[in-house]
């Protein structure tokens, strides 16, 4: 064999060896449980991994708007439907896709709600490449666990035990209001959605089609974030893909959001009283769809009743 061929084979073997090392180390570095102590990130959103198999009726994806505006425990209390908010601060669409994919390994929801703020979040090519690399080799995401590796990580298998009693919702009752005003001024302009983001939305659409899940786009009320131009951009996207789009910013007469009392940070995010209104609307929407069953008396779902008790204690401030 001539030198050139030998050199090329040498390079290729080096790369292959490297990939094998990445794979082995990924197994070691992956958190063995979805709790913070085990090194899992975004534990509230990842709490869905600890839920019993096939017990979640709907999943909500998106950024901080989701965990401020939707409280699944309220829908459980009123209707007995189960849901989870896989929302994280400044969530990028590739993260939404990741949350959905991993949730669908053990859950079969009927609805997935994608909060539209994330669709306008700028993702650079670097972010996207890094995210893909992290999916193939979790070593890149969890490399910082070198600080807390234990012996059990070397051979341990992954078992998710943690779950969040408010199902991804983050309770906030602080009030920091602003003046109520008409902020959705009609316009013809449509805000542009980047190619990268379209790609991820398509991935989510295809994933939902595959699993026979209905994908709904929702814009939660936000007087400081949302505009009519953004609405138009999303409406176009929804029409192009045959998706239902609910813009809550245009449902003021049904929701009756009062921006002087329902926001925790001058109109960026809703607080608890705002979340109650939004969740109430969503619960009614689900009830009218007739898709879900009331599980409140179901023995398999008793943990939800237990969680409800803890949840009610928290929100009543005792």
């Amino acid at each position: 064999m001539n030198k050139k061929a030998k050199d090329i084979i040498g390079c290729i073997s080096f790369m292959v060896g490297l990939l094998i090392l990445f794979a082995v180390l990924s197994v070691i570095f992956v958190p063995k449980d979805n709790s913070r102590a085990a090194g899992m990130e975004a534990v509230q959103a990842n709490g869905i991994l600890g839920e019993k198999e096939n017990t979640i009726d709907y999943i909500i994806l998106g950024d901080s708007e989701t965990h401020s505006s939707f409280t699944p425990m309220q829908i459980w209390k009123d209707y007995g439907y189960t849901g989870y908010v896989c929302g994280t601060n400044a969530q990028h669409l590739y993260e939404s896709e990741k949350f959905l994919r991993q949730a669908l390994k053990h859950q079969s929801p009927k609805y997935v709600i994608l909060e539209t703020n994330a669709i306008y979040r700028y993702s650079s090519i670097e972010n996207a490449i890094m995210a893909k690399a992290e999916n193939y080799f979790p070593l890149f995401r969890y490399h910082d666990r070198w600080k807390n590796l234990k012996f059990s990580d070397l051979g341990g298998s992954v078992q998710y035990t943690y779950t969040n009693y408010s199902k991804g919702y983050r309770f906030e009752d602080r009030i920091d209001g602003v003046e109520n005003k008409q902020y959705m001024k009609p316009t013809e302009r449509a805000k542009h959605i980047t190619k990268i983001n379209r790609h991820y939305v398509n991935n989510i659409i295809n994933l939902c089609k595959e699993k026979h899940i209905e994908l709904i786009l929702v814009s939660t009320p936000s007087i400081s974030n949302w505009t009519y131009a953004k609405h138009n951009g999303i409406q176009k996207l929804a029409d192009q893909n045959g998706l239902t789009y609910i813009d809550m910013n245009l449902l003021q007469d049904q929701l009756e959001i009062d921006w002087e009392t329902d926001t925790r940070d001058k109109g960026d995010h809703l607080n608890y009283s705002g979340a109650v209104k939004v969740t109430d609307w969503l619960g009614t929407y689900f009830k009218q769809s007739g898709e879900f069953t009331d599980h409140r008396q179901d023995a398999a779902y008793q943990s939800w009743n237990k969680d409800l008790k803890r949840y009610e204690k928290k929100v009543s401030g005792k």
């Binding site: 060896g17 490297l18 490449i129 890094m130 070593l139 490399h143 070198w146």
Partner: protein
Amino acid sequence: MTSYVSILYLLIFLPAVLLVYNVLPKKYRPIILLLASYAFFWSISRKLLVFLLVSTVSIHHIGLWLTAVQSERNDVLAKTERSGKKAVKALYIRRQRWIVFLAACVHVGTLLVLKYSGFFGRNINALLQTAGVGLSVPILKLMMPIGISFYTMQAMSYVFDVYRETKKADKNLGRLALYMAFFPTIMEGPICRYADDAEQLWEGRRSTLENLTFGAERILYGVFKKIIIADRLNIMIKTLYTGYADYDGGMMAVAAIAYTCQLYMEFSGTMDVVIGSAELFGVVLPENFRHPFFSKSISEFWTRWHITLGTWFRDYIFYPLSMSKPLKKLTSKARKKIGNHFGPLIAGTMALFVVWLFNGLWHGAGWHYIFFGMYHLVLIVAANFVEPFTREFLEKIHIRREEGPYRIFRMIRTALLVCIGELFFRAEGLRAGLCMFNKMVTQFTLCSFTDGTIFSLGMDKLDFIVVILAVLFVFAVSVVSEKGTNVRRLLSTKRRIIRWAVCYGLILCCIIFGAYGMNYTPVDPIYAGF
């Protein structure tokens, strides 16, 4: 792309250019490099590319113009008799000087306006205010194209070299353009010389296996330095420098040393990536660092740190100034009065003053940068001034400078002086720097090391351990390299298992211990802002 140490550059851009470069026939290779360089520039500064293009075209024209004037002079000289030659030479020198002056106005002028108009404007306004004058100068917010401080110096060095006739003007606009825009050097240097580098850039040599492995290894080493050491120190340094009022003198010392470490690891690490990148293409760039912390004096330090900047100032400012007619006259008069050590020191100091004023200002428009320059000027001039006395004293007490404990003492002393300079360099303004320095000297205490403060700045015990071990590794490599061994060549003589183990080890260290990902904020390269 904001940095060379990024996925986009290292795993996408560089391999793609390398592949296309090697696949194409020889005559297209330099063109690929040129196109890639413009694409790289565009991805960072977009339309400001026009500044680089204008610079390139203008020095091309000016170079040819100077050469034309020079050949005209030669023709005239051939026809002139001996007695008239001097006058002819003087006439043509004057003409050439005007052309060089024009080039300087265009290039340095652009740099001055884009980079310093804000600084000058603010200071003029401050002066006007104190004088009670009601006027104020408007301060324009101007954007700078990336690398303008670097490519302007390359442009001027080309013009000066053609003027001095140490290099002929290049008719090849492409070659000149590549010299100006070459993507590894455009953002942070090294500052190249036309005579040394333009030709090999344009040659289009195919990459050999050694180019590829040595280049990749060097890049890996640079990434190691940056993401394990420099980036890991970043949060603590930001905390200390913005909130210096909350921390004691001991922490100020930590701030000085840690920043010097961060700066060195980041800048020299980036140079490793950049020089390694060029090496992949068979191009040898000048070194910018030579283990600066083994320096025994501040003068020596500046021959080992940011070398190409130092040599640029030496060749185009220090020597021309100190050996200009008026300063030469001054030197010879001074030599007669105060001897050959102190005589030349006067002209030397004056030239050094200009060099250090420019050096300070080159780094940025701020009084603390000027202070930084003057600080080093004073150290160098003082050391030179007392040189004969030091020598005498050391001889009397039988200490040999270049060996043993005294040598180590000199190295440590130099390193500490450098750290103090860097404290001012990084401080958020001159006032902050003076305050921090004052605290360090008058309120030094070890309290914060024992009461837990030091672990509250963004780095915990394990972070410190990793940084210290990594620094020791770099130190060990530096010691071997300083003794004259080429580390990569040494590695290539070992068996495959050892070579692979070392490379795998470095790569895995970078991935595991690198300060990137969800727990860290991204770090902007320090030198790209200059």
